[in-house]
């Protein structure tokens, strides 16, 4: 099987690889690029553990091919914190006990980031619907909802106080 050469921007860095067309995007990230923060939970695009952003849109990387990502820009959980400073969502998941085993967490946080990019002030129902493509087996979602609410509030406040500055990036 012939391989194809692809170029992908991952967390702001251009990366290249020769891949089989059948290589799943999640395996490109994990096995080829060593970014193991993105997890595989179900294989059938139900659980969302593999959620990343592709060109700013949340996507399930187990249901995309690496070749489909050619020329695109990807952000994963590893690209969220800037140095020692956590993204408000990361901080909120920690503060609110929004995770237990941590396996769904990267995908959950990526999806929440996408959601807050769409809707800076979501209701509880909108949050629950917004993460309905992500399964968590540990938390019962109560504290995940609280985490997203905390982050939404902080991100709004940050955006309001930094008049003229860029709002906190959602992705």
């Amino acid at each position: 099987m012939t391989t194809q050469h692809i170029t992908v921007t991952v967390n702001g860095e251009a990366r290249e690889a020769d891949v089989e067309p059948r290589l799943l995007l999640v395996h490109l990230l994990r096995d080829v690029f060593g970014l193991t923060g993105t997890h595989i939970g179900c294989d059938t695009s139900n659980c969302g553990a593999c959620t990343i952003h592709v060109d700013g849109e949340s996507a399930k990387s187990c249901t995309m091919l690496a070749v489909q990502a050619d020329g695109r820009s990807i952000t994963t959980i590893e690209g969220m914190a800037s140095g020692a400073t956590l993204h408000p969502l990361q901080q909120a998941f920690w503060d609110q006990h929004g995770l237990q085993c941590g396996f769904c967490t990267p995908g959950m946080i990526r999806q929440a980031a996408w959601l807050l990019g769409q809707n800076a002030d979501p209701s509880e129902a909108e949050i629950r619907e917004g993460i309905s493509g992500n399964l968590c087996r540990c938390t019962g979602y109560v504290n995940i909802v609280k985490s997203i609410q905390q982050a939404a509030g902080e991100m709004r406040t940050a955006a309001e106080t930094q008049v003229g500055a860029q709002p906190v990036a959602a992705s």
Binding site: I77, L86, H97, Q100, R137
Partner: protein, 789 residues
């Protein structure tokens, strides 16, 4: 009993009662956790498994020639290969036998048939697709009742009790004659068949391992997803013949366990065999379908229960007969004295004298069953049965279900309470918990609303569950798994600079042990929680433990940790006496320091004492400040709670909507309230799941009809209600910290609350029981039959 947690330590110390933020979270929120599939070893190969499409078939031949032609496929391992080394069978934790790979017959759909070793996961998968297996299908038994019929095909002639039937074992508890007499004398008798279907823990991370055989050093390192690494090491030593000191089992971060990562699966053994064969590290990772179709299951209990009571509703007697479907092998992780787990805790929260329970384990053509779903020891099944029966009794005699419970509860002064099936409940205060739940939810108003709605033809139900859990296995006189007594352990080392390393015999799968066990040490010794590092899951370093399941971490290893800390405190007292030039009796302890009685300014901090243990210890005393404790609990612990659920039913579609759910839990003294709440939220969701959504069903050919997350319906945030929680605190009198354990409580307690609510909504139509999962199609069929829909 109180309802408040008042910490003894300052927030800086962070002992018991503080909602300390979790120490493990910084790596998880950055995607820097290290789960099994994240691990890559130099030269690592991949193993993938050929599985049977048939639930029962003879293997006539396996042709691996096409697979071996694929570049990168290095080996194909079959049962015949394993048989040469005697490794085609292995023991289960219940003392049954399980195939690693079959040599003649497959016994369930998706059973392992051969293993392909290759240079990548993609090539291994291609190899699996290319292996040709010639099967001759055999008749299939999926229904345990049919398995017990006279003349039924004997599935396990090698194992069946009398070699003539599919009965694995018969187990009973209580007094049959006394119970029969009490039932015969009862004014009111209610009986019901209750089926609790097969479900699967479906942790979001599946199972996997890397077996790494170093032939030069004769060392086997097994990185794996296991809730009980030490037990795995011992089993591996016994089965493989490798010396136990040369086996290292190491767990990493685990994406949930819930009991599904207790058993030994053939995949682990195959990776070990493959690594021994090729001399390189071999990784095996399940995909979701393999996980759902072949890993151990929970429940699958067919219960017939009969309850006797007086006219006034005083319960007098309970008789239960149960068929337990274990699939083709009994792979339960129950203590060996208890083949049906602790199912005889079925008398629940109620005070009566006469009970008899019997269970028959049965073989069928299904994967090994009888393990766990956030409760391994059959407590969920017991609680569901008694809570359903009590509700039916209340409705039958026209008494409010809350009132009936109040009138039958074991009273606080009756503890320790001996049950008719032999348990001794440590402590409880059931009425207060139920009253608190009723107050939180506004019970009386809800009943009024329900009456008004019913008059309008609307279907609303209120359901209660007042459960008693039984956890903390367990006292060594009664509890062992394959002979290993169910103690647990902790080793604490205090470094000269006053920092602490502690290792525990239990394993976190998300519960937050790195935080809560540090809090126990902070509580006992006064070191700030941030100065305490907790390690686990490496059999080369951690003290021997039986692992994390059945809510036993806090009751057993938590107690061991407290006891080890107290040993250190005892030595610290000697050191302090030396440093303060006072007698030990003149010292008093407060978290973090010893001071001289009456002279509070004469004190030594625990950090100063730690330094002295290495720099200035008295003559005749060993240097260092370390302790280890193997804790054998004197009894189990008995957490409890009362849950109330309100449902509305859509008459048109049969959909059940949970409007509110209040959970009042009592797990004794609380280490970390935030984590306890998190455990309850998660447990409730895993109680919701089988109540309304999840079930593993099979067609008559034994095909698993829920083999992906497309059909195994794990609830999302949309299905899951906003759980409301409350607490009462009744400490365990025998646990050093007064704690009881909480991981399973909500999963055990929630299903009957939901089922009782649904039946309550339908009772006036003549509905006495609805088996879980209460799917729309099931409810609609009932409404349709009653002419409502």
């Amino acid at each position: 009993m109180t309802t408040e947690t008042t910490p003894r330590t300052s927030p800086e110390i962070g002992g018991m009662g503080h909602s300390v933020k979790r120490k493990e979270d910084p790596r998880f929120i950055r995607g820097a956790g290290e789960y099994i599939d994240d691990l890559v070893l130099p030269g690592m190969l991949w193993l993938d498994i050929v599985r049977s499409p048939y639930a029962h078939a003879t293997i006539k031949g396996i042709d691996a020639s096409e697979a071996l032609k694929i570049p990168g496929v290095l080996a194909v391992i079959t049962g015949a290969d394993l048989e040469k080394a005697g490794l085609h069978w292995m023991p289960t934790l219940a003392g049954d036998k399980q195939m690693v790979l079959p040599t003649t017959t497959v016994m369930y759909q998706s059973q392992e048939v051969a293993a392909v070793v290759a240079t990548s996961r993609y090539i291994a998968a291609d190899g699996v697709a290319a292996v040709l297996v010639d099967y001759e299908p055999l008749p299939v038994i999926v229904d345990p009742h049919k398995a017990l019929e006279p003349g039924a095909m004997v599935l396990r002639p090698d194992r069946a009790a009398d070699k003539q039937t599919n009965r694995i074992w018969h187990w009973e508890s209580g007094d049959a004659a006394k119970t029969d007499a009490a039932l015969a004398a009862a004014d009111v008798r209610v009986s019901e068949d209750i089926y609790i279907p097969r479900i699967h823990v479906a942790s979001i991370e599946t199972c996997g391992c890397i077996a790494d055989w170093d032939a030069v050093r004769g060392q086997m390192t097994l990185h794996m997803t296991s809730q009980a690494p030490h037990a795995i090491r011992t089993v591996l030593a016994l089965v493989s013949g490798l010396p136990e000191q040369n086996i290292r089992v190491k767990t990493h971060d685990m994406g949930g366990g819930f009991g599904g990562k207790v058993p030994v699966y053939p995949g682990y053994v195959l990776a070990v065999v493959a690594s021994l064969t090729v001399g390189k590290p071999v990784k095996w990772i399940e995909d979701r379908s393999e996980n759902l179709q072949a890993d151990s299951f929970a429940r699958d209990y067919h219960i017939h229960a009969e309850l006797g009571a007086t006219k006034a509703g005083k319960i007098t007697s309970l008789k239960v007969k149960t068929i337990a479907d274990h699939g083709y092998t009994d792979a339960a992780a129950d203590p060996s004295k208890f083949p049906a787990g602790l199912f005889n805790v079925i008398t629940g929260s109620y005070d009566f004298d006469n009970a008899f329970v019997e269970v028959d384990g049965v073989y069928t053509n299904k994967p090994p069953g009888g393990v766990a779903y956030r409760c391994s020891f059959r407590v969920t099944e017991a609680v569901h049965a008694i809570e359903r029966m009590v509700d039916i009794l209340a409705h039958d005699i026209g008494k409010d279900p809350a009132q009936l419970r109040m009138e039958n509860f074991i009273q606080p002064e009756q503890f320790p309470y001996k049950t008719p099936t032999g348990w001794e409940y440590d402590s409880g205060n059931y009425g207060v918990a139920l009253q608190k739940a009723m107050d939180m939810i506004g019970y009386d108003d809800l009943r009024k609303e329900q009456a008004a709605k019913r008059a309008k033809g609307e279907l609303m139900g209120i359901g209660i569950s007042s459960f008693t859990e039984i956890v903390g296995a367990g006292p060594s006189h009664d509890f062992d798994i394959i002979g290993l007594k169910m103690f647990d352990s902790c080793e604490i080392r205090v470094h000269p600079t006053g920092k602490v390393l502690a290792r525990i015999g239990v394993q976190t799968t998300g519960q937050g042990h790195e935080t809560t066990f540090a809090q126990i040490i902070a509580e006992e010794l006064g070191f700030p929680v941030g100065d305490i590092k907790i390690e686990y899951g490496d059999t080369d370093t951690a003290p021997y433990g039986l692992g994390t399941y059945a809510s036993r971490s806090t009751p057993v290893a938590g107690a061991a940790t407290a006891m080890a800390a107290r040993k250190i405190r005892d030595k610290a007292r000697k050191l302090a006496a030396h440093l303060l030039e006072a007698s030990e009796e003149d010292l008093e302890w407060e978290p973090g320091k010893f001071s001289v009685k009456g002279s509070p300014d004469r004190f030594k901090t625990i950090q100063e004492i730690a330094f002295a243990a290495y720099t200035n210890h008295p003559a005749g005393m060993e240097a260092g400040l370390e302790a280890v404790d193997y804790y054998d609990p004197p009894n189990l612990t008995f957490p409890f709670g009362s849950y109330i659920c309100v449902v509305d039913i859509d008459k048109g579609t049969g959909q059940v909507h949970i409007r509110r759910f209040v959970a009042v839990d009592d797990c004794g003294n609380i280490i970390n309230p935030m984590i306890v709440d998190g455990q309850i939220h998660g447990g409730l969701t895993m109680g919701l799941a089988p109540s309304l959504y999840e079930a593993i069903t099979y067609d008559e050919l034994g095909n698993n009809l829920a083999g992906t997350f497309m059909d195994y319906l794990v609830p999302t945030a949309v299905e899951t209600p906003a759980w409301e929680t409350g607490k009462t605190i009744t400490p365990s009198p025998h646990h050093p910290l007064g704690a009881k354990g909480v991981g399973e409580s909500a999963t055990v307690g929630a299903p009957p609350a939901i089922a009782n609510a649904v039946v309550d909504a339908l009772w006036h139509l003549g509905v006495r029981n609805v088996d879980i999962p209460m799917t729309p199609q099931k409810i609609w069929a009932i409404l349709h039959e009653k002419g409502i829909s």
